[in-house]
Symmetry: C2
Subunit: 324 residues, 2 copies
């Protein structure tokens, strides 16, 4: 079947080429149906597991792409703002190539993520406030130092990296009915959504965001950028307040739906993933399961795939939430 | 480099051929260095993760091989004795091919494993006593019904399936210094050990068994089959009492060492894998980490690989052990 054409910043040939420069350690991740979880949710569930790698999230796919380009260009340093996962992944990809990596993170980011960024040899600068404050500081830093600023979701490489997950999902012999993707800045949702919609137009692409950080979902429904005053969710990985217009445009093209879920459902999703799939995940990785929990009728008897996108979580917080 | 020749029941060409009939869902599993765990253990640690598949253990590699042969031979049923993981895997491989699968298990096996065997559509027969009692019953059942009995570790396919893990470990650009392998009946230890020793003779092959179920380790040290009166360990997957002579012969050829670890070390290993690698594992999957904990000097500054072989654990027991 010929891929259908979507009007986005993404292109299948570039995404396919990305696989050539991403360290194989981040590619071809486990993708399997989890019977026990499916029985609990009333639908077949395929888990796409992005946690079994050195940085415990899917972000390595994008940072590998960025870092390999910087090396080719002879650049020696790079800066990003991150709630933790992008920073870790960039630190890993940069260390491997001898790049000086600086990560600006909110002081409130999970300690586990911050520790691992430092351990990977990156310079870590902590700022007061939330992710948006970290982003502003990263912009100034990059300008001062005249180095590349990696902007998650805006920079096409971060979307293309995530999109390689879509290639793997689409390569299954038996496609699923719907793909559930965590929605934050939009790199993963637009990337994976684009590939799935291009290659398997019949598969529903459903983005899931916490009701406590609903900016991109509201924007998608209103078809214009909607910002929020605050973001209040345990899912730190997807807690942005300022959607990027170009990313929203792409999301409008590739997503069939964008839904919001309650914090209790995110926690219930984390618990189900632990109890019935043996997976410790960070809150954003449980958004897909949370969406099924909140709308069981919609998914009853269908086959969904959910991208378990990260497992960087402070164990103390995890214990408190999941009450293990 | 030419493979070195070892006098065992295993052959590299057969193991390579096995990859062709094993469902890819069990192959090319995640294999990555875990910095955080390594820092805690004082050595570099590569995790070979065998839990991210539909049966949450490496046993699918062997049962795929067995089941595909049975199908080719026109057989319609199969029996095995299992503490849980082999039974689940055989149930999965059999269901896919329309084989009637009967699993005989000790009543004391983890409920999580027994539930999943049933859920996969296998007939489950529970017996009083330990694994050896289950094995005896499975032998009679197979004889009565005239169907193939799959005997873990004795049947070469179970070793060859496990051995495909060794091919993946050996395909790394930078080989490790030592491979730590859980030792029970010996399928995994002889299989993985054979491939590692054949292709990378400089890599140390170290088998690890609980001190509470030491039969095969004692046999290896005494170079003759030593049985034990009882087996007392939380690591149900490796709790045999009657080593098989042919398997011991292979193990003598491929293992550089066999060590015993205390229950407290197994629990500490499970805890470290949870806290620093985000992995929920069953006790037998923590044996490698336990071995490092008990002999830090031996591994200090070296690079070890450990096969995280299963995650089928009752969550209640897990919580009690790990005190999460």
């Amino acid at each position: 079947m010929k891929p259908i054409l979507l009007d986005t910043r993404l292109r299948l040939d570039r995404i396919r080429a990305a696989r050539q420069v991403i360290d194989p350690i981040y590619l071809d991740t486990p993708q399997y149906e989890c019977d026990a979880l499916g029985r609990r949710l009333g639908c077949a569930v395929t888990v796409k597991l992005e946690t079994a790698n050195p940085v415990r999230s899917f972000k390595g796919r994008g940072t590998e792409l960025v870092a390999s380009q910087l090396t080719e260009q002879g650049r020696t340093a790079v800066v990003c703002a991150s709630a933790g996962n992008l920073g870790q992944a960039l630190a890993w990809s940069g260390r491997r190539r001898g790049l000086e990596v600086t990560v600006v993170a909110p002081r409130s980011a999970p300690a586990a993520k911050l520790d691992r960024i430092r351990a990977l040899g990156a310079e870590l600068e902590l700022v007061a406030g939330d992710f948006e404050a970290a982003r502003e500081r990263a912009v100034s830093l990059a300008r001062e130092r005249d180095v590349r600023l990696v902007e998650d979701s805006l920079d096409i490489e971060t979307c293309e990296g995530a999109a390689t997950i879509g290639l793997e999902l689409a390569s299954r012999a038996a496609p699923v009915d719907a793909v559930l993707i965590a929605l934050g800045g939009g790199a993963m949702a637009t990337g994976v959504g684009f590939v799935v919609k291009s290659l398997l137009p019949g598969v529903e692409v459903i983005c899931v965001q916490p009701a406590g950080a609903p900016a991109m979902t509201r924007s998608w429904h209103e078809r214009r950028v909607v910002t929020t005053e605050s973001a209040d969710t345990i899912a730190d990985g997807v807690a942005g307040r300022y959607p990027i217009a170009a990313v929203l445009d792409d999301l409008l093209e590739v997503a069939d739906d964008a839904v919001l879920v309650q914090e209790e459902s995110i926690v219930a999703g984390m618990r189900l993933l632990l109890e019935h799939a043996g997976l410790v995940v960070e809150p954003s990785a449980a958004l897909g399961v949370a969406a099924v929990l909140e709308d069981r009728d919609r998914f009853a008897g269908r086959h969904v795939a959910t991208v378990v996108c990260g497992s960087n979580v402070d164990m103390d917080a995890y214990r408190r939430w999941v009450r293990v």
